[in-house]
């Protein structure tokens, strides 16, 4: 490589890779004459026929400054580059030095999306062109089209630059072309083309603008001088470059950081924050409306509570046998009620699952049934039933059965709606009937949640059945009620302990079953 000291240069050469076919699209004239004036030696422009020629001139030191297009620069960088970037142009009217690769088709084309370009004729730029080749290559790869495989297209037309590619599309010689947004916007601004003539079917993410580069081993004073002159040039002259007029040139490292920073977003979006604030406000209002007063709870109520609890101690287990009999009755009511709920909710659950229900009206009816029975508390249902069919276990069983049917059907429907439907499709494609599909793909998938939900409902029904006795629907609740009425607090505490122990045992039992079955 030639010596890098300014003394040995009587002129500097700037190698420019092709961009568009008119010099207005790639104009460094003013910039180089400005540099010539300020540095004191001629700075000459050399327009190269392709990216390769420009790269070669820089690699062998014939040129000292260059514009290579972004991709060609990356290419040099990866192979221990002889050049470094020092400035990148910000186009007029934009704040950032970026552009995009846009896939354009004629407005009357039947190509709608990127996938459609398969087996069409495409115009492609030089393989070192960023927006005419490299970025389109990646974009096409994402939709499964390999640019390097000639079989992907009917024909590939190699064009010298973006302007030729744009013309080819509009004249109809090719179906589609990926082109630089800079050239496209420039041709629209020049009225060379009309926006009605073409459609954009796809555009790439932002591509960092192509930087100006100089040789890495140029004397550092000279490098510093060139860089500061270029970055300051917009204050003295109209700067231009790839894409015509430039607003200014900026330091590529700084502008890259700004570019990255433009993607920064708060981890918590304003929506989340508003949600949290709304939650706090709503609950504060509820607390105010209900006159929740924690201090009161801690003072007066605490004393009464102490008094009541004191009277309950020690528990009176004198009629233990009778209590156990009543407890057993409660458990039996719960078990029968749960069985009734399961039996009823299997068909209702299937019909209220959107993906299984035969049609919308049936789905709606099934849903309404489940909501209806969930809406009526079993307490109320049991009261009505006691009036209708008299005291005893039956009203409790029916009330529990119908009320929890509403829950179970909802749970079943939800787990059925969340089954993976791919196995369903597979079994369907083998010619299975609808019910066979349900039996072989839905049922096996929902069995674990089916068992889990049933055990939960059984657990819940035992707790609820203890209360049903209060309205006369049998079981230990009745005992609890009568002991309360007679102010036999030691008996009340004994009953509570019995209920607690029963539920504790049932809970252990159901988690044992769960661990074995699920």
């Amino acid at each position: 490589m030639s010596s890098s000291n300014l003394k040995f240069f009587n002129s500097l050469i700037m190698a420019v890779a092709p961009g568009g076919d008119n010099l207005e699209g790639l104009d460094f004239q003013q910039l180089t004459s400005y540099l010539s004036n300020k540095i004191g030696i001629p700075v000459k422009l050399k327009y190269c026929k392709d990216y390769n020629e420009a790269m070669t001139m820089l690699s062998d030191g014939t040129a000292q400054i260059g514009w290579l297009g972004a991709y060609a620069y990356q290419k040099l960088e990866s192979d221990n580059s002889p050049v470094v970037e020092f400035a990148v142009g910000v186009p007029k009217g934009k704040n950032v030095p970026f552009y995009r690769s846009k896939f354009i088709v004629r407005s009357d084309s039947n190509i709608q999306i990127l996938e459609d370009v398969r087996n069409k004729t495409i115009a492609l730029g030089d393989i070192y062109s960023t927006s005419g080749y490299e970025v389109p290559r990646r974009e096409l790869l994402e939709v499964g089209i390999n640019l390097q495989n000639e079989g992907s297209f009917k024909a590939i037309s190699n064009v010298a630059n973006h302007d030729e590619a744009i013309r080819s599309v509009i004249e109809g010689t090719v179906d589609v072309a990926p082109v630089s947004s800079i050239n496209l916007e420039l041709m629209i601004a020049n009225r060379t083309i009309n926006t009605k003539d073409f459609r954009i079917i796809h555009q790439s993410p932002n591509i960092p603008g192509a930087p100006l580069v100089y040789l890495r081993n140029l004397e550092s004073n000279l490098k510093e001088q060139i860089k500061s002159l270029v970055l300051d040039a917009h204050n003295h002259i109209d700067v231009s470059g790839y894409g015509g007029h430039m607003d200014r040139y900026v330091d590529p490292v700084e502008s890259h950081l700004e570019y990255i920073e433009s993607y920064l977003r708060p981890q918590w979006t304003w929506r989340t924050i508003i949600g949290i604030l709304a939650f706090i406000v709503i609950y504060t209002l509820i607390a105010i409306d209900l006159e929740v007063d924690i201090s009161q709870l801690l003072s007066d109520s605490f004393l009464y509570m102490k008094d009541v609890l004191g009277r309950m101690w020690p528990p009176d287990f004198s009629n233990f046998g009778h209590l156990m009999r009543a407890m057993l009755e409660t458990v039996e009511i719960a078990m029968l009620g749960t069985l009734l709920a399961i039996t009823l909710s299997i068909p209702i659950g299937l019909l209220s699952a959107r993906n299984i229900a035969p049609n919308y009206p049936i789905y709606l009816i099934a849903r309404t049934i489940t909501v209806f029975f969930r809406a009526i508390p079993e307490f109320i249902m049991a009261m009505i039933l006691v009036i209708a069919i008299g005291f005893g276990a039956m009203p409790g069983v029916i009330a529990l059965g119908f009320h929890t049917m509403g829950f179970l059907a909802k749970f079943y429907a939800e787990s059925i709606e969340h089954v993976n439907d791919e196995p369903m499709k597979a079994i369907e494609s083998m010619g299975a009937s609808k019910w066979q599909v349900i039996a072989f793909s839905v049922v096996p998938q929902v069995i674990p949640s089916f068992i889990g939900n049933n055990l939960y409902i059984l657990d819940r029904n035992i707790r609820m059945a203890t209360m049903l006795g209060i309205v006369g629907a049998g079981g230990i609740g009745y005992e609890l009620q009568s002991s309360f009425r007679m102010f036999e607090y030691p008996r009340v505490s004994a009953i509570i302990i019995v209920i607690f122990l029963t539920i504790f045992v049932i809970d252990m039992l159901s988690s044992y079953i769960r661990s074995k079955v699920l």
Binding site: S78, L141, G144, Q148, L264, R265, W268
Partner: protein, 259 residues
């Protein structure tokens, strides 16, 4: 020498003898492919490097320090890993997935609230840019294609600036075309940030196209260890004859081509 493995042995509880005395050294900046069919022990080898598998005999030296439970955290700071099935957290954005690579150096309370420093986020965005996914930074990864997911996986692996990247069959779940672009990306990133890459593969043609060196594994033993430029398909085929193969030789199996 970045990595020196001596006499590594591993027999699993079910009696599978995954490694039967493996010696291997890897230089800084090398792109090494460990080639072998499934069951050849290559996954076990890779996992014993970063301590996911405990070998029963032999030692692994990283920068001349023997890896033990005491030095393992240090080694893990220096290694990134890329997985066959990507192993991303599906409900998180690409950016948050990449940021998980920095959890070991984050304030644990802040990271529990998904809060990361500005520097960490910029670093993550730069990694996403490096793999060409800056535009998808805030997209949930389950909305991405397979190739894009693996790119996020690579970004996550390189965010803490590791010295060594372990890639376990990084392209086995991808179609041949995308495989090529992922391998190119791994290679380019390796060159760009001076990363040493150890990559498990079972496709001979991909190994030949992208590696500096190929280490062939069969039945838990090294049967081949040579610079890629000295190798060709014929030779590898000959080596693997009688080893029962399971390797993919045919170009038709993997149409990936380098750029």
């Amino acid at each position: 020498m970045l990595l020196e493995i001596k006499g590594l042995r591993k027999t699993f509880d079910d009696g599978t003898r995954a490694l039967q005395g493996v010696d291997l050294s890897v230089k800084l900046g090398e792109f090494v492919v460990i080639l072998g069919s499934s069951g050849s022990g290559k996954t076990t080898l890779l996992r014993s490097i970063n301590g996911l598998v405990k070998p029963e005999a032999g030692e692994v030296k990283f920068f001349d320090r023997v890896i033990s439970s005491a030095t393992l955290p240090e080694l893990r700071k220096e290694t990134g890993m890329v997985f066959q099935d990507f192993n991303l957290v599906n409900n998180l954005s690409s950016l948050n997935n990449v940021l998980t690579g920095l959890l070991d150096s984050s304030n644990s309370l802040m990271s529990m609230l998904y809060l990361f420093s500005r520097e960490q986020k910029i670093q993550a965005l730069k990694c996403l840019e490096m793999v060409g996914l800056l535009d998808k930074a805030y997209t949930r990864v389950d909305k991405l294609s397979g190739g894009q997911k693996q790119r996020v996986g690579i970004a996550r692996a390189i965010i803490k600036n590791p010295t060594l990247l372990l890639a376990d069959e990084p392209v086995a779940s991808l179609d041949p075309m995308i495989s090529g672009s992922i391998m190119t990306l791994l290679r380019n990133i390796g060159h760009k940030i001076g990363l040493t890459v150890i990559c498990n593969l079972h496709q001979v043609d991909i190994a030949l196209k992208y590696s500096d060196r190929i280490v062939g594994l069969s039945g838990g033993r090294i049967v081949l260890d040579a610079p890629t430029k000295d190798l060709d398909e014929e030779y590898i085929r000959k080596i693997y004859q009688g080893h029962g193969s399971g390797l993919f030789f045919n170009e038709d199996d993997t149409k990936a081509r380098p750029r």
